[in-house]
């Protein structure tokens, strides 16, 4: 084998570079054992490359400072103790969860309280309305009291007539202001399509004059109605008439009648 020619091919430079196949590497390894001059060549190439590559490095790191890392890695490999639980982390999470729970609870409380407040507000408005109603009622009652206590008032009781003996009413007549106050508590509600009509009567001859119908009878609370009356009435009567009233009273439907007591 021509050793020199073999060297000149440049294969040994590639061998050092690590760019040959495994088979070629094996072959060269065999040749190096047999031919010391080949080995010498390889050593020189390698030496030159080692120096060249070393020249690129800006600095060396001595083995002592590196050794620490080596052992560190060794212990790292051996050291497979289970990781200690991270209590700080756990505590943090627990605190967060408790805090979140607390916030939710507070929110619930707030909603409940708001609801209670709303209910109380509604109750208050309702009570205020009731008070207002009571005041109005009281004022109306006082007014009524004032009316019937008036010294000019003439009281006329109206008795039940015929089939309607249980019915009754009362008229308080204030001649000074031409007004009668009819207390119709003793009359039943007017049925559908019917209405109460109030009459002023003179007796000789018997002449009825309509004082009007009571349209709001069924809905009125105290059943006291103020009606204008400028007539020289001698009696008052109440009949049940078709809605809208009648020109003259339907005598069969005369519920109550009362004559004014003229004896002083």
């Amino acid at each position: 084998m021509d050793i020199k020619a073999y060297i000149e091919t440049g294969i040994l430079e590639l061998y050092v570079a690590g760019q040959l196949s495994e088979a070629e590497n094996q072959e060269i390894y065999g040749l190096l054992q047999q031919h010391p001059e080949l080995l010498q060549e390889v050593l020189e190439i390698e030496n030159a490359i080692v120096k060249l590559t070393a020249a690129v490095s800006p600095h060396a790191i001595d083995f002592d400072s590196f050794k620490g890392k080596l052992n560190e890695t060794d212990t790292k490999v051996v050291d497979l103790k289970p990781k200690k639980p991270n209590w700080i982390s756990y505590t943090g999470w627990a605190a967060s969860i408790i805090l979140a729970g607390g916030l939710l609870w507070t929110l619930n409380q707030k909603t409940a309280l708001e609801l209670q407040l709303q209910t109380a507000e509604t109750d208050k408005i309702y009570l205020e309305t009731q008070i207002e109603d009571a005041k109005t009622d009281l004022a109306a009652t006082k007014n009524w009291l004032r009316v019937i206590r008036d010294k000019n008032i003439i009281t006329v009781p109206l008795g039940g007539q015929g089939d309607f003996a249980t019915s009754f009413a009362k008229v308080y007549w204030n001649k000074a202001d031409n007004t009668i106050y009819l207390d119709a508590e003793g009359l039943p509600n007017a049925p559908q399509g019917k209405v109460w009509q109030v009459w002023s009567l003179t007796l000789n001859p018997l002449t009825p004059t309509s004082l009007g119908t009571i349209e709001d009878f069924n809905t009125d609370d105290n059943k006291i109605f103020a009606i204008t009356n400028a007539n020289e009435s001698q009696a008052f009567g109440i009949t049940l008439e078709p809605t809208g009233g009648s020109a003259s009273p339907t005598m069969e439907q005369l519920y109550t009648l009362g004559v004014i007591d003229t004896t002083p």
């Binding site: 390889v42 490359i49 790191i61 080596l70």
Partner: protein, 176 residues
């Protein structure tokens, strides 16, 4: 060079003293190769040390039949450095690596000591032809194969081999 074989054997038997000797022989070279790829001193420090740690743990996988010990560790170093440049963190920190070749780096070292090696190498890189620079860069520093180098440099595959031989010869003349 029975000494080197003995050292490598001892190293494979986890002899730390032997390992230390091999380390002191090659750490700067490995650092240089890595630095030429990652272009960052701190990262090169880390990768170089990782390379030796890996070599220590994988010592039993080396066989002199497969090649030189230096070639073996050189190969580990190039792969580790290239892996590093492909890592996400590295890509983010090094958006634009400068394109310096080993020659530019050596020429840029102002603080080279005055040893004959340093003087010779500096002289070598300044006198080196462009083709030589590229061939050495690719074959030794970047780990390109002969075929890849021939494609990269648009040079017949046989020419890569002989030209490389000539380039290394020049280097030997100056540093040995």
């Amino acid at each position: 060079m029975a000494d080197l074989d003995t050292l490598v054997n001892q190293f494979q038997n986890k002899n730390q003293v032997a390992f230390e000797k091999l380390y002191s022989m090659y750490n700067k070279s490995i650092h240089g190769v890595v630095y030429n790829i990652v272009k960052d001193t701190a990262i090169a420090d880390e990768v170089m040390q990782d390379v030796f740690i890996k070599a220590w743990h994988k010592a039993d996988t080396y066989s002199s039949k497969k090649g030189r010990f230096f070639t073996w560790i050189l190969n580990i170093a190039r792969n580790a450095a290239i892996d590093k440049t492909r890592s996400k963190a590295f890509k983010q920190s090094k958006q634009n690596l400068n394109a310096d070749f080993f020659v530019d780096i050596i020429a840029g070292h102002d603080n080279l000591d005055d040893s004959t090696d340093a003087i010779g190498i500096k002289k070598f890189v300044t006198q080196l032809g462009e083709k030589c620079k590229a061939v050495i860069e690719l074959l030794y520093f970047k780990g390109f194969t002969q075929k890849e180098t021939s494609e990269e440099l648009q040079m017949p595959i046989g020419t890569v081999k002989t030209r490389n031989r000539n380039c290394i010869q020049q280097l030997r003349d100056m540093v040995l």
